[in-house]
């Protein structure tokens, strides 16, 4: 596969390491009350859609950016690629 890196352009997916659903960005607050259920959901449950899937890829053999790739799991067509850091910020994650 070819992943169109937002900074570097098309790169062979072989340079990347796959992690999984982009929802892994949305880590619950470990100090919140009753956070156990949230962590179970976060760590273990997946939509696993047949179709469009937002997922995390790490450019390990490249510039070491984590990317959020929107890819169809049936056709493997990739429709958008973003820097995960920007996505995380847009989801309100900070420090």
């Amino acid at each position: 596969m070819i992943i169109n890196h937002p900074l570097l352009g098309p790169c062979d997916a072989q340079e990347f390491v796959y992690k999984g659903d982009a929802s892994l960005i949305d880590r619950p607050d470990g100090m919140a009350d009753g956070t156990d259920a949230a962590f179970y959901d976060y760590a273990y449950l997946r939509d696993n859609p047949a179709g469009e899937h937002r997922e995390l890829w790490y450019h390990e053999q490249g510039d070491r950016s984590w990317l959020v790739v929107t890819r169809n799991t049936v056709t493997h067509e990739i429709t958008s690629v973003e820097l995960a850091r920007d996505v995380a910020r847009s989801m309100g994650r900070s420090r």
Binding site: Q14, E15, D63, S65
Partner: protein, 186 residues
Amino acid sequence: MHDLAPMTPLGASAPRRDTIGPVTITEAPDWALTSVAARLGQEATSQAALEKVMGNPAPGIAGHTSGAIFSAFWIGPHIWMVEAPYATHPDLAAQIKATCADTASVTDQTGAWVRFDLTGDDLPRLMERLCNLDMGKMQAGTARRTVIEHLGCYVIRHADSITIYGPRSSAKSLHHALVTVAKSVF
């Protein structure tokens, strides 16, 4: 000056040089390397500081810029790798840290890499068997990291030569691959 004798990545006192067909592969241990990563919110200032040291612009994305003494290439968002002759700049990191101060995180990378300089004709024919970079499209002044023989390497395209940086501990494996491929092509 201390009295420890350096060893080249290929394990000798002198660098290795191989000529196969039109191509010469030269081990180049005489470079100091330092990574410069901008601190959060300091991207502009750290780049300015770096350019002050280098005396020429810092490279843009996937770029390599070279000056009289210093040159540098892009290795990630707001991260650069600076090169300078080791003989004159054994303390490159300290020198750059002095200028960048708290605007950047500076890390000595000199020992982490083995550098091979490739010169001669038909270099693309050699490279096309080593990595998936499109050498036909790759302009001089481009630096890309990619996989060569299962190793993460930087490939830098100069006007009439190519530089490959690979992990120092795998210098022997990388060199073996370069020579094997050269013999297979030429």
